[in-house]
């Protein structure tokens, strides 16, 4: 049970970083970004390939962040330059990334790495750094402009803000964090699968919603922290549902449990005063 708890916390921290990325798009700039499922695997593939070729996990993670950011930037470009709707632009990029990821893995659907490349301490430090960094960013004049484009783009434009550039930046940052999460996932599991991104968005959304219910405060730092807290709680709840009642649930019931959990939390009560 102890190892299962540690694993739940580990997964919670990884998906907490991803949930912060999701918060940036869905809550801050009001952009329904579906790139997530693709950029998660993209980050994972890039990091795995680099580590497999002898580079350090830190370089792999940095490259994964940049790769994810590039995917987010492409989504922003499709949306602002070619007027493709936010949802479709994200789906298109995620769709195209599947082929790119397969190419990165040398045409194989998955690869294995030798041993776990990352410790839980590194994960904890990265999650805390992401919380503090995003919290600080959103508390600045620049962050205020970022928040404004999602809630009143007309006023933002009239105030001299380049909405398209700010959106591209937010999407790049968001998907960079998601790519980083993907790298952590692959490096801790010592395994990279091209299909592992399916459902990333739902799991991150579940973490975000749970966090918002538990810590319903307007402080950006608390909001970012709530993503990590929500993610860890979500993983513990799912872990308990799957392993705590032998014979009732199977691991294949994961999606059903996640869906029911999200519906239950959303039904408990509408949020009163949440960020932003």
């Amino acid at each position: 049970m102890g190892s299962e708890f540690a694993m739940a916390v580990e997964m919670g921290l990884i998906y907490g970083i991803i949930a912060i990325g999701i918060m940036l798009t869905f809550r801050i700039i009001n952009f329904a970004d579906m790139t997530c499922d693709g950029s998660f695997v993209f980050g994972g593939c890039v990091a795995s390939i680099l580590v497999k070729n002898g580079l350090s996990p830190a370089i792999g993670c940095a490259a994964a962040f940049i790769a994810g950011a590039a995917a987010g930037w492409v989504t922003a470009l499709l949306h602002s330059r070619y007027k493709i709707t936010d949802i479709l632009a994200g789906i298109l990029v995620a769709f195209m990334l599947y082929s790119i990821n397969l190419r990165l893995l040398g045409g194989m659907p998955n690869i294995t790495l030798e041993g776990s490349c990352l410790g839980n301490f590194g994960l904890l430090v990265t999650a805390m750094a992401a919380v503090l960094l995003i919290g600080y960013l959103l508390n600045t004049d620049f962050g205020l402009a970022l928040r404004a484009i999602g809630h009143n783009s007309c006023l933002a434009k009239a105030s001299g803000i380049n909405v398209a550039a700010m959106m591209a930046l937010a999407l790049a940052l968001s998907n960079g964090l998601i790519g980083l999460g993907g790298a952590f996932f692959c490096l801790t599991q010592s395994f990279c699968d091209v299909g592992s991104g399916i459902g990333t968005l739902i799991v991150a959304m579940a973490s975000l919603i749970i966090g918002e219910r538990i810590l319903p405060f307007r402080s950006p730092t608390v909001a970012a922290a709530s993503c990590v807290v929500g993610s860890v709680i979500y993983r513990i709840l799912v872990g308990f549902a799957l392993h705590g009642n032998d014979g009732i649930f199977r691991s294949s019931d994961f999606n059903l449990i996640t869906g029911v959990l999200i519906v239950a939390i959303m039904a408990i009560g509408r949020k009163k005063k949440c960020f932003p």
């Binding site: 600080y136 600045t140 004049d141 962050g143 928040r147 001299g160 932003p276």
Partner: protein
């Protein structure tokens, strides 16, 4: 100060919304613009604020072309001029950096808190006592008053008031107009105001312009303004 030179806006190469319009506004002058729907009033504001580019002509502010950083605008709907999901303080901080470089420094410094509270107190609505309230919880009148204050906090020299009382009840409308007059005089801004309210058109400003078919149809200055009637508007 503000010079609109030969501005033409033509849609799809056919209908002209503004037709070779020329207008010069002196520093500190308050010009009221009236006209029927479709006369080109809001389009003129869109051109001055840089939201749309004219087909021909140019807008000079302080002798500089495309000097849109010197323009702030109060919209008809207070929900457009403010951000409902932000607190009063956050809205003020957002407006404070209008057309300026937005740095990675916290927006809630003690100097700013004091400054914003002083400015909010000038509205006489006790908003300075509730800086952390969400703007969505304010009434329409309070929200429009905040929008007015936000438009002058950034020190832009040209202020555009676009039917600022259209969405308000008569009492709030009176209060907001009085506040707008007070702010324009106190801050000594060059101001252009669009209105459909005849009383506001006659009672406010130094000059009254009637816009029709994208051109200046009539112009009244000083005491001539009191002879302006509903008939002039309809014609």
């Amino acid at each position: 100060m503000l010079s609109i030179e030969n501005i033409t806006i033509q849609l799809n190469g056919q209908r002209k919304i503004l037709n070779h319009l020329n207008l010069s506004v002196a520093a500190g002058e308050f010009v009221v613009i009236v006209g029927a729907n479709g006369a080109g009033k809001s389009t003129l504001f869109n051109v001055i604020s840089g939201t749309i580019k004219p087909t021909h002509g140019r807008v000079l502010i302080d002798g500089k072309s495309d000097n849109f950083a010197q323009v702030s605008r109060v919209f008809q709907d207070p929900r457009v001029g403010t951000i409902g999901n932000f607190t009063i303080f956050e809205n003020m901080a957002f407006a404070f950096c209008r057309h300026r470089r937005r740095h990675m420094i916290p927006f809630y410094g003690p100097w700013r808190q004091k400054f914003f509270k002083e400015r909010l107190a000038t509205l006489h609505m006790h908003l300075e006592d509730r800086p952390d309230d969400l703007v969505s919880s304010l009434s329409g009148g309070q929200r429009q008053a905040l929008s007015l204050l936000m438009s002058v906090i950034g020190n832009q020299r040209v202020l555009l008031l676009d039917e600022i009382t259209a969405a308000l009840d008569p009492k709030s409308s009176r209060e907001i107009m009085a506040l707008a007059n007070e702010i324009v005089q106190r801050e000594a801004r060059t101001c252009l105001m669009i209105t459909h309210n005849i009383d506001h058109a006659i009672g406010c400003g130094d000059r009254l312009i009637v816009l029709g078919n994208g051109e200046i149809a009539k112009e009244f200055r000083g005491r001539e303004k009191k002879y302006f009637s509903q008939k002039d508007l309809i014609e």
